[in-house]
Symmetry: C2
Subunit: 357 residues, 2 copies
DNA sequence: TTGCCAAATGTCGACGTCGAAATTAGATGT
DNA sequence: ACATCTAATTTCGACGTCGACATTTGGCAA
């Protein structure tokens, strides 16, 4: 391994001078010396040794990415992409560990991070959720992404605004004139399901539209990670009714995909007979189905970038401006929703609606 | 930072003894001493310092994962999962860098790896492809995954057997009695498209089944990473013909999804009117569409594991048993293919077929 | 009890880097 | 030419660990 000393010998200067050149310490260096050293570095193919730097400075310039299954799962890979993209403009590198959601493995991972002298950690979960109070964090900077830790209010976190996203998804159908709207929910064990579900109800209530109980059905059942899709059956049943909804809000894009299958198999046209709104903008589905899916995009990429920005800021000593961020979702309008000119008899609204602004 | 010396002081032994305990060097240690040191380690929360270890031993116990976009793309995340799972049983950790396919970034990444004293590298591509001859590798152990480097025949690689997969996919439909089979191809710029495509033709030829030119259509067009799906239009056109195929082999599962949309919209039943075989077993699609998709699974997880095994072996000094591995694909039978009892008039086969075994 | 040997533990130094402090080179003014 | 001052460079040492080697300990046979 070629070290700073080899370079120094070749360039005819002291090792300390080489160190200065290598770390871009331009101020106290004569251009002539600098050039001489640069040439020697080039010639020998010298690369600084991070381990040695770290021993000296006790900073590793490595960040830890701890995920449950995010990094290996299709859905939230955009968080990772956002993180990596943002890391580009920093001196940090990323050490990735996947815990598979196993607490024992998580404990071991923290230890590994400590061994590596990780400067800070991005703790990312696949589903938007609250961490159990038992979750412990070591005393290094950590930014939570897609999850919050009620037991650790001092830890910054970044989550999507699922409530608002759910609200806006329903509102979109309402704005397009739909009044008969079904909702196919995510797995009830997920926080996002709760948020989006109650937002759906609130959005309908705000417009004085009835939320029919038999039109609110689960799309996924069973334990998280072992759940089963049931959207197809449930939606098929609903769409077979003579009086069927003209629009469906789905808990995610896979559920929307099952709705597509159900609707199409029944000979219904999308969006004319049924309009469908997805959630997640999971491109492998949303941009492939025909007609293309209108869906609520989760701001994963931005969340990842913001997380890096926040963490790097903390490492510089700048506390985050906003400790807890709820990132807004964005509706991606494609072709699965149409304007609904609902005939009078379809709208079963209280008269007072007419005096609404 | 609590070091080996602090522990030594507390336990009343020399630092060297602590070092031995910490590295699990059981042989030359009295159990009593060991226990004493272990207690001190526990008490102080000592964690070995990898940077120091590395300086001493000049091995980092870190592997580099260099990807083009794999880690951030839904399709081949199983490779990463396979890698991470296999890493579990080794002392290695993973430093991840994503090059976005940018050669400049790739060069920088190699440098970063060198700085970190990476012991070996897993070089993974999203698509099965051949690396251009311009691709350079530094002189450390590297295992290529999902790609090969004709210019570097000494480098081990692990790729899927796309040809055989394509062959078996077509053979499956043939075995089920289908004789009128269409093929919707991947983007022609991808190596896998080539392999699977020619395998399709060979499989049909082997059974003396005609491969109709107008039933072989692209499913994706445009530059890789910027391509556009055209399977829907193309398949719709084919399925509208009076004489239409009873089975379709698809270049991947997303193309299969477009076939679903096309077939269902035309009022055709899957699998009774059209049987469909996908490729990739991209679960977010294959296990969600209704009926569930029969598809050729790429052995991504196994490829990742084998890559780690190979690399770790190389680091131990064991050269890989097999330098270049083609991993077999596996057909996942679900519900999108049915037995086809083709009437005599449908088969337009040369008479000599009757004398085939 | 002594002597011997293997087992157990200790001492020392170097890995590559950079902070602090010390030294030298170069510029400026007289 | 010389003093003075700043800019540029060098010297020195320590970070935590473990390999090589040195030393001590404990057990056991004579």
């Amino acid at each position: 391994m070629v070290s700073i000393k080899d370079v120094a010998a070749l360039a005819g200067v002291s090792d300390r001078t080489v160190s200065r050149v290598a770390s871009g310490d331009t101020k106290l260096l004569r251009p002539r010396t600098r050039k001489k050293v640069l040439k020697a570095i080039e010639e020998l193919g010298y690369v600084p040794n991070r381990a040695a730097q770290m021993m000296r400075t006790s900073r590793s310039l490595v960040l830890g990415l701890m995920t449950d299954v995010v990094a290996t799962t299709p859905f939230s890979t955009d968080i990772v992409r956002g993180i990596q993209d943002a890391l580009e403009s920093t001196p940090y590198t990323l050490l990735t560990i996947n815990t598979s959601g196993d607490p024992a493995k998580e404990a071991r991972s923290w230890q590994t991070f400590r061994e590596h002298g990780i400067d800070g950690v991005l703790y990312v979960t696949m589903f938007h959720r609250q961490l159990p109070v038992t979750t412990q964090f070591p005393s290094i900077p950590v930014v939570l992404v897609n999850c919050s830790a009620p037991a650790h209010p001092e830890r910054p976190y970044i989550v999507p605004d699922d409530y608002r996203g759910g609200y806006d998804a329903a509102a979109h159908l309402l704005a397009k004139g739909h009044r008969k709207i079904a909702y196919v929910a995510l797995n009830e064990h997920i926080l996002a399901a709760d948020l989006r579900g109650s937002a759906f109800l609130d959005a309908l209530a705000a417009e004085r539209v009835e939320a029919r109980g038999d039109w609110i059905v689960p799309g996924l059942v069973g334990d998280v990670f072992k759940d089963r899709f049931v959207a197809f059956e449930n939606v098929t049943r609903i769409l077979k009714q003579a009086d069927r909804p003209t629009g469906i809000v789905c808990g995610n894009d896979e559920i929307a995909l099952q709705c597509y299958c159900a609707a199409l198999e029944l000979g219904l046209k999308i969006p004319d007979d049924v309009s469908i709104v997805g959630f997640d903008d999971f491109q492998a589905v949303s941009n492939v189905v025909e007609p293309k899916l209108t869906t609520m995009a989760l701001p994963y990429h931005e969340m990842g970038s913001l997380a890096v920005e926040t963490l790097v800021g903390m490492l510089k000593g700048t506390p985050p401006k906003v400790l807890h961020t709820k990132y807004r979702c964005k509706l991606i309008e494609r072709a699965s929703v149409c304007q609904q000119n609902h005939p009078a008899e379809d709208t079963d609204l209280p008269a007072r609606l007419t005096i609404e602004p």
